[in-house]
């Protein structure tokens, strides 16, 4: 495990990039109160502080927890009565022991304040370059122990930043970061627009749209290995809106090679193109359900922009959205039961959650120009791009409709968010 983490992290170069600023917006009123004690450290005290801080930030960002520290180091002799009186429901205590210059032993324990039982405990050795990763992993374990659901901490984001360079010139960057926006890395810099980044299911590749050759084309880049960026075969017209099949073997995309914008699936190994829609209208923005059996896509075939679902086995296409005159860019929730999409309300474009079976549509935001919704891998949050103070920012809303946090770049706009699956 340690070896794997070291190998993984060496690909992050030493170059520093502008980190997105994370602002926590609101916690749920009944947020779960958790105390994450300062760690008992033998050796480099800073590393212990780092772990506890990352963990508290993780839980606070989730919107479901209210994480705080204690004013002293809580050890195994926990005064449960006192923490009950303080209304804490769970306590995390930890030890960090430096065994060599770069190797640490980490030990953590999660305690239920009421039952006074240990809910989770773990001990292992970690290289100092893997401390962030391990902390996200432990946060996921604690989240699961308390809520019975997976967390989304040990995952990554991809997004596009745009900075004005003067004289009408802009610099576009495709960046990736940890789920807490730390460890940002620019994987592509361009003078022309970059759109629709999409993590592959194995998290080793990113598909995106680039205009570097003067028209929209789809590329696949390998951010962690030295391997040449691959361009999907180009046909005359648009090539855009890539999304991965959950098995990682093919990509759905929009092509207009016949002048008609339709959805195709491209098998990467077989280099085979399969047409999935054929309608004279615009069909675009396809995305797969987690079981790979359905695609949702945007079409104006009814004369309005609406979302449709195609069942790939039967070939049947059903209209999914009926409320409002504009619904687009839908993505399936991990459980396949709902869609997050862009919904027009009067003159505003907002993020909405559609229950596919009941057709109930819940508007999640109050903004004017929301776009590009994407689920966190556990389905508890939706990240999207919006405009704030005349600049593009990323915002995250919980599926219960609570705004949770915001990601802002000081250097310019941030847009086109995509959230990876779980790390391997």
């Amino acid at each position: 495990m340690i070896r794997f983490i070291v190998a993984f992290l060496t690909f992050y170069s030493a170059t520093a990039f502008a980190i997105l600023e994370v602002t926590i917006l609101k916690k749920a009123e009944n947020a779960f109160p958790i105390v994450i004690s300062p760690f008992l450290v033998k050796g480099d005290a800073k590393q212990g502080e780092l772990i506890a801080n990352i963990m508290r930030d993780n839980f606070n960002r989730s919107g479901e927890f209210s994480a705080s520290s204690a004013d002293y180091i809580i050890t195994s002799q926990v005064d449960f009565d006192k923490w009950q009186a303080k209304k804490a429901e769970a306590i995390v205590i930890g030890k960090l022991e430096q065994v060599s210059k770069k190797i640490f032993n980490v030990e953590i324990e999660l305690l239920d304040v009421y039952s006074r039982k240990t809910l989770y405990a773990k001990k292992f050795a970690v290289h100092n370059s893997g401390i962030r990763r391990i902390t996200h992993y432990l946060s996921d374990q604690i989240y699961f122990a308390l809520l019975g659901e997976k967390g989304s901490f040990d995952t990554r984001l991809a997004y596009v930043t745009v900075a004005n360079k003067g004289q009408g010139k802009r610099e576009y960057r495709l960046e990736i970061s940890d789920s807490d926006a730390q460890n940002p890395q620019t994987i592509l810099r361009a003078a022309s627009p970059i759109l629709s980044p999409a993590w592959s299911p194995d998290q080793n590749k990113i598909a995106y749209v680039s205009f570097k050759n003067g028209q929209s084309e789809v590329f696949i880049q390998y951010p962690f290995v030295r391997r040449k960026t691959q361009k999907l075969p180009y046909f005359d017209g648009i090539a855009s809106a890539p999304a991965w099949h959950p098995n990682g073997e093919s990509i759905v995309l929009t092509l207009s090679k016949d002048g008609n914008k339709d959805i195709y699936s491209y098998h990467l190994k077989d280099e085979k193109l399969t047409r999935l829609t054929s309608d004279v209208s615009i069909d675009t923005e396809a995305s797969y359900s987690a079981d790979g059996e359905r695609i949702a896509f945007t079409s104006n075939r009814s004369g309005q922009v609406q979302v449709y679902i195609k069942h790939l086995k039967t070939g049947k296409i059903n209209r999914a959205t009926f409320a409002g005159s504009y619904n687009a860019k839908a993505v399936f929730s991990p459980d396949g039961k709902s869609l997050a999409l862009v919904h027009r309300v009067d003159k505003d474009y907002r993020i909405a959650l559609l229950d596919i079976a009941t057709k109930d549509l819940m508007v999640m935001t109050q903004n004017k120009l929301d776009e590009s919704p994407f689920f966190s891998p556990n389905g508890s949050m939706i990240i999207f791009a919006t405009n704030k103070d005349d600049s593009g920012v990323l915002s995250v809303v919980s599926i219960l409709g609570q705004e949770t946090f915001e990601l802002v770049s000081k250097a310019g706009e941030v847009r086109e968010p995509n959230w990876s699956h779980y790390s391997k």
Partner: protein, 193 residues
């Protein structure tokens, strides 16, 4: 609905360039004999737009149509003349629309005639959308707008000389968030090359 308007800009005032198809003929090695009466009559019409020429980029033509070396150099000269005169031709569209109405069709036909009179020139049609709605849908919408113009030019057998690209909402001419900005950003740019 679709509207063609004459916009003013700093460039327009400085170099006193208005861009109409008629003026195109003057800028590009005049062929007055070829201008029809009908076209002369149209000179005074409010017609095509001149906007900031700084974003005018000559791009190499990558279409299937091939030109001889002599044609290439002739075309390059014309393109340079157009560029220096700050001409830019833009057709605007309605919200979520890619239809071209009768008046705008007449303008496109003038471009068709101009292209027939200047057989060395190729045309790149750049389709754009306003910022509202999703980026990928707007990319498709921008292409539909440019294709609608190309369809008219195709009636004049010019398809092989016309290249269509779409930038969706990515390259707005006005970076504001109001109806006036959106109206100007929903457009097809005619770029001779």
């Amino acid at each position: 609905m679709l509207k063609i308007t004459l916009l003013t800009s700093a460039v327009l005032l400085l170099s006193s360039c208005t861009s109409s198809v008629e003026e195109l003929y003057q800028k590009v090695s005049p062929r007055s004999a070829l201008i029809t009466e009908e076209e002369n009559a149209a000179v005074n019409q409010e017609s095509i737009i001149a906007v900031d020429s700084s974003s005018f980029q000559s791009q190499e033509f990558k279409g299937s149509h091939t030109r001889t070396a002599a044609q290439n150099s002739a075309a390059r000269m014309i393109v340079a003349q157009l560029k220096n005169s700050g001409t830019k031709f833009v057709l605007n569209f309605s919200y979520d629309g890619s239809e071209i109405d009768e008046a705008a069709t007449q303008e496109v036909i003038k471009h068709a005639n101009f292209m027939r009179d200047n057989p060395t020139l190729d045309l790149r049609l750049e389709g754009h959308a306003d910022e509202r709605g999703t980026r990928e849908y707007n990319l498709a919408l921008g292409e539909n707008r440019a294709l609608a113009v190309k369809e008219i030019l195709g009636l004049y057998d010019l398809s092989s000389r016309v290249k269509v690209v779409s930038f969706g909402e990515e390259n707005p001419v006005v970076q504001l968030h109001d109806e006036s900005a959106w109206q100007q950003n929903r457009r097809v740019e005619f770029i001779y090359q």
